[in-house]
C-alpha cells in the first residue's frame, strides 16, 4: 500500500525516519533529473538535491499544505538549482521567453509555398517512423538521442518536457511549481516536443541533426 504524502508529512514532523526514507525513495530520482536541467555536472546536481532535502527538513514545520508536498518540494529544488545554475551561468530566467519560441514546428520548406494552389499543405509524404522508433532494437539508440536533445534544449523547455512527459506531472502542477502561466507552459511543451520529434525524424531520414 502506498502511503500518501500528507501522512508522510505528519510523520516526518514527528521525526519519523521511515517517513523521510519513503520521501527520498519517492522523489529523489525525479529531483536529480530536474536538477540536471539546470547544472552541467551530476555531482553539482546531487549537491542541489541534498541541499533541497535539508531545506525540506528545515521548512517542514512551516509547510502549510497550500500546495501539494510535491510542488513545494520542487519549488525548493528549483530555487536551489537556479542559484547554482546562475553561478555556472547556465541559468535562464523563467520569465524570459526565448527567441527560439518563435521558430516554426516544422521547417517551412516541407509545405507548398504561399501562392501555390496547395499552399501550406505537405509537399512530400511524411516518413512513417513511428513503428521503427518504438522497436526494441533501436530503443537504446533512440533514447540516447532523445536524452541528448533534451539536454540541449533551453533549460525551461527541458524542465517542462521532463516534468510533463517523463515524470508524468499534470499541466497544473508544472505551472504551479515553475510559477508560469498555462499558456506559457503549453508554448514550452510544444517547442520541446516538436524539437524532439524533429530530431527523431532526422535520425530516420538519415539527415544531419538540426539541433
Amino acid at each position: 500500500m502506498v502511503t500518501n504524502d500528507d501522512e508522510l508529512v505528519t510523520r516526518l514532523r514527528r521525526g519519523d525516519e521511515q517517513a523521510f526514507a519513503a520521501l527520498i525513495d519517492r522523489y529523489h530520482a525525479s529531483m536529480l533529473r530536474v536538477a540536471c536541467r539546470f547544472v552541467s555536472d551530476t555531482a553539482v546536481a546531487e549537491d542541489v538535491v541534498q541541499e533541497t532535502w535539508i531545506g525540506v527538513l528545515r521548512g517542514i514545520d512551516r509547510f502549510a499544505g497550500r500546495s501539494t508536498l510535491k510542488t513545494w518540494l520542487f519549488t525548493i529544488l528549483l530555487n536551489q538549482a537556479r542559484r547554482r545554475g546562475s553561478l555556472e551561468s547556465r541559468s535562464v530566467p523563467f520569465s524570459a521567453l526565448g527567441e527560439r519560441d518563435a521558430q516554426p514546428s516544422v521547417e517551412p520548406d516541407r509545405f507548398f509555398p504561399p501562392g501555390d494552389e496547395y499552399a501550406g499543405h505537405w509537399m512530400a509524404e511524411l516518413t512513417d517512423w513511428t513503428q521503427s522508433a518504438e522497436d526494441s532494437v533501436l530503443a537504446g539508440e533512440i533514447r540516447a538521442l532523445i536524452q541528448r536533445t533534451i539536454d540541449c534544449l533551453p533549460p525551461i523547455q527541458g524542465i517542462v518536457i521532463t516534468l510533463r512527459d517523463l515524470e508524468g506531472w499534470s499541466a497544473a502542477e508544472v505551472c504551479q511549481a515553475l510559477s508560469i502561466s498555462e499558456t506559457n507552459q503549453r508554448v514550452r511543451l510544444h517547442r520541446a516536443r516538436t524539437i524532439v520529434r524533429r530530431e527523431i525524424e532526422c535520425y530516420f531520414e538519415g539527415s544531419e541533426s538540426v539541433g
Binding site: 521525526g15 533512440i142 532523445i146 518536457i161 508524468g168 498555462e182 516536443r193 527523431i200
Partner: protein, 84 residues
Amino acid sequence: MADQEELTCQELVELVTDYLEEALPAPERARFEAHLNECDGCPLYLNQIRTTIRLVGTLTEDRLAPTARDELLVLFRHWKSAQS
C-alpha cells in the same frame, strides 16, 4: 464552410499541443478534427508527436549514480537530534 476557414497543414502542426492539451476552443477543435479527417499527412504527424511523448516517457532509467540514501538519513538524524 468557406475555404479560408479550413486549416492548412502548416497551421495544424502549430496547434497540435493545444489540441492534445484540450486547450482549443470548440470551433477550433472542430476545424482541427475536420482537417485530420481529410488529410493523409496530418494524422501521421499527430501520431509522430504521440510517439515522441511516449518515447520521452521511457527515459526513466537512471543515468545517475544512486546518491547516498544513507548520507541523507545521517543528515536526517542530525536534524532530528538538533530538534530535540
